[in-house]
Point group: C2
Chain length 366, copies 2
């Protein structure tokens, strides 16, 4: 299903063929937690160009619940989204959001952060849930190791993640939808390598790298990425979960990553933090009140073509919801364009120069 | 500028030619308080079909302020709206929102409801403000009489409103933009008639009816509309300010009203109150959680074509902003279609039958 089209050193351009269309890589997936990318309609996402979005099993399980999504014949028709959907396994949310979690080899028991109700996730039932969502890519349940973590615990947890991946594979053998596993291993290079190797033996459709961007130094993250990708097959997509900043995306692409997701463009937008080719803009600053320029002169999105920084400032300052929507639309357009530009540069064997130019322009003026 | 095209008893179909395009009447104007119809982009409003929106002088004066709107070369370019704009005079907001107001024949001094700052509105300066906004229709400053009000006060206040209308006319004689005056007179038929007659002598481009829908019985409102319109010229548009419910719009059209504005479709949408051809729907009700039907089968708006009641319920229940936007889009589409249907019925000499059919369907099932 994944075709590697071109490499520029370790950077890769490919095509991932899924049930709801082709995904050119490297790709960024907007996060649609509750079956909606906050403030965006499915038509907005299509208009920007995204061929795939992410949604969260943990959140969908709690609201609207499996029964509702089954009633609506899956997540695509529920949210009227014709593109692809990847759902995470809920592992990360159970470890970051849920209350009173108790993990055993069998699975994880936790209390909902909404109403305290008790739930149980196992490798098998999160596969069943995602199958019911009708998504295009399902993620296996993993344990996300906190940072810092001692090596004994990291080793034990990584073994469990691998065991869970195996159980997921055994539980669900069909190739439709695709199943991706998750490389863990904490911040230990040898554990990452070992985890990657053992997961590759299980033969998944794609390989994610989890448990990064959890507070560690950037260089440590980059080393863990390299340690993980070194043992991943070239003909399968690699997905760095929960990342991230444009600079992190560029550094990860340089290390052979194909897929990304992050709440940053959407969450920052709702706080007035906007990404531009010249760096970040905080639209709440009063210096933008009398400014009739577009947010980003290099951006051709609907917002930059039609609205000024002054109007965006006015909307944000006065808590007008349209402001949060326009901010989100722009930030997602920025990430979409960034990935497109990265892909073009790779195909032209020009990635490192592109990265250098982008970062010079992006960092110097912020 | 106004052409009366057809009458069906007292109901009228016309065309109002303004700087930013032709407005077929009867028309409903969405309310864009702060230079934005809450949750809607200007493109959304255009897509629904609105040829004109309303904005509020009082609010714009306070935020972003005259200086900002002048900097952006007017309200149209500030909000990227290519259609027409009518601004009210601020009179109603000064009397309903502002603090510590003091009214004299000269004008009204008040404190901002935002920060308590002191301001002064006169017939002359609100004309100047609206001219700077660059709008298509300007409203004269009036005093909105509370309800109930004794006749002496109503008489005195109505005289002041007429005097202010005269001063506005003297201050601003050009015909571009158009200036509308406002018939007041409280709930007194003779004062309404007298006010209408005296304003007509001053010869305005259009005549609004203000001070209604302020808590009075519906029949009293209808009587006041009839008392006002009886003396208004047939060849000028008539605008019932701040109304309203579909049933009120129908009854007012029946009495010869051409123009309407109201926050109801937009405000109700944000509270989950949705208008449908079968009556009102409160989308927060759990009965909609498993419902894959469109909100209104008779509606062809973007929301009804693409999303289910179940999804709208999910979004609303989980406080997703997209829900408020889709609700608003639908409600405005409902009002737009209602006005279009009313206009077609008038042109077919079929208004009363249309009204009867609409209300039977609309009321019976709520």
């Amino acid at each position: 299903m994944f075709k590697l089209e071109h490499t520029d050193k370790a950077a890769r351009a490919g095509r991932l063929k899924l049930k709801h269309g082709i995904v050119p890589t490297p790709i960024f997936m907007p996060v649609g937690t509750l079956g909606v990318v906050k403030t965006m309609s499915s038509e907005d996402l299509k208009e920007i160009g995204f061929p795939i979005i992410l949604s969260n099993t943990y959140h969908l399980w709690l609201r609207p619940g499996i029964e509702a999504i089954e009633y609506f014949k899956g997540l695509h028709s529920f949210m009227n989204w014709g593109g692809n959907i990847l759902t995470d396994s809920g592992g990360f949310q159970v470890f970051s959001l849920a209350l009173l979690r108790k993990i055993t080899d069998e699975g994880v028991t936790f209390q909902s952060h909404i109403d305290g109700s008790r739930h149980f996730f196992s490798p098998e039932n999160v596969m069943d849930m995602q199958k019911k969502f009708g998504v295009d890519i399902m993620m296996v349940l993993d344990e996300c190791i906190g940072y810092p973590a001692d090596k004994d615990y990291a080793q034990k947890s990584t073994n469990r993640t691998i065991e869970w991946a195996k159980r997921s594979r055994d539980h669900y053998k069909k190739n439709d939808p695709q199943m991706f596993c998750i490389v863990q291993g904490g911040m230990y290079e040898d554990l990452r390598q070992d985890c990657a190797r053992r997961l590759v033996d299980l033969d998944f459709a794609g390989y994610a790298i989890g448990g990064l961007s959890v507070g560690e130094e950037n260089d440590l993250m980059y080393n863990m990425i390299s340690a993980s990708t070194a043992f991943l097959p070239v003909n399968k997509p690699r997905y760095l979960m929960g990342v991230g900043e444009p600079v992190d995306i560029l550094n990860a692409v340089e290390r052979g990553i194909d897929m990304f997701d992050c709440v940053m463009p959407t969450r920052n937008a709702r706080n007035g933090g906007l990404f531009t080719s010249k760096g970040n803009v905080s639209i709440k600053k009063s210096e933008y009140s009398l400014n009739d320029e577009p947010l980003d002169e290099d951006c051709e999105c609907f917002v930059c073509k039609n609205y000024s920084k002054g109007y965006l400032h006015h909307l944000f300052k006065n808590k007008e919801m349209l402001g949060l929507r326009l901010n989100t639309y722009h930030n997602l357009s920025f990430f979409y364009k960034l990935m497109n530009d990265i892909r073009s540069a790779i195909i032209r064997d020009n990635f490192l120069l592109f990265k250098k130019d982008f970062l010079e322009k992006y960092v110097c003026t912020t």
